[in-house]
């Protein structure tokens, strides 16, 4: 499993733990009399679980598992292992997580512009990933490929 996918899955697991802990607190807190600002925290919970966990684990595993571009291995465009330009993908992954932090902060501070900025950054980072992954989605035998390791 390449480093980028490992980091992505690790971070997504952190979001899963944070999001589910918050969800447990939101569900159980009021039952045991803990006062919580439920409205903004529910939106933070949704962002953490949908974007931080599910979307990120999907993209990270896709980076690992999709067929590699064997014909372009070793070139700058395809990176050293045929998966794609790793620096660009790493920046996209970092921006994706920063964007979730921006939108969750926006929820907590009730700043609509913060939420919009965060969501726009999330969408942009995701688009970069989809553009990088698109050439690796192809039919069997369409070109030489290697199995993931």
């Amino acid at each position: 499993m390449p480093t980028l996918s490992r980091v992505g899955v690790y971070v997504s697991l952190v979001w899963l733990i944070a999001g589910s802990m918050l969800g447990g607190l939101l569900l159980g807190g009021p039952l045991v009399g803990w006062p919580l600002r439920v409205g903004p925290l529910v939106r933070v919970h949704i962002d953490a679980m949908l974007f931080g966990w599910l979307l990120q684990v999907t993209v990270s595993v896709a980076w690992w598992i999709l067929p590699r571009r064997a014909e372009a291995r070793g070139t700058w465009r395809a990176g050293s292992d045929g998966r794609g330009p790793v620096p660009v993908a790493a920046v996209a992954l970092g921006a994706f997580n920063a964007a979730i932090l921006v939108s969750t902060s926006g929820h907590m501070l009730t700043s609509q512009s913060g939420v919009v900025l965060g969501r726009s950054l999330t969408l942009s980072a995701l688009l970069v990933f989809l553009i990088l992954l698109r050439p690796r989605v192809r039919a069997f035998g369409e070109s030489a490929s290697r199995s993931p390791d």
Partner: protein
């Protein structure tokens, strides 16, 4: 495909099916004077879809597909995987039944079930993350350990 994966995929499919049914029931009753049923089913149906369906599907496939720890240790402790599977599904079921009981039946029993869900779902996520986190490594270290 290991047994844990087969059962998590079956359970995930069941959760998605149930979640879709409840989501549609909630939608059907939205504006027809039974809005309490709609509000009681809205969040639990989303939990069935996202946690019971998608997250459980990711867990099952990751248990099967992620690099094994070593030839000796395999994928890890199956007992822990079964524990995560059980906790997650008990949590999802408690979430649905608890919400319905709070809205329509025995409110105290419903609250107790919601408390069960509030404890079991994050615990399942913790167990799941601990199991999969230990299996994330590159091909070089995988070869060295096997």
């Amino acid at each position: 495909m290991p047994p844990v994966t087969r059962w998590t995929i079956r359970a995930a499919a069941l959760n998605v099916l149930l979640g879709m049914i409840l989501w549609n029931v909630a939608g059907a009753f939205q504006g027809q004077g039974a809005s309490s049923l709609a509000s009681a089913l809205h969040a639990p149906s989303l939990h069935l879809l996202v946690v019971g369906g998608l997250t459980q599907m990711v867990f099952g496939v990751a248990w099967w597909l992620f690099p094994v720890r070593s030839k000796d240790r395999g994928r890890g402790h199956p007992a822990l995987a079964w524990a995560a599977f059980g906790l997650l599904n008990v949590g999802c079921l408690s979430r649905v039944v608890g919400s319905l009981l709070v809205a329509y039946g025995n409110a105290s029993a419903g609250r107790a079930l919601l408390l069960v869900a509030a404890i079991t779902l994050p615990t399942a996520a913790l167990v799941f993350a601990a199991m999969l986190g230990g299996r994330l490594r590159g091909p070089a270290s995988a070869r060295a350990r096997s």
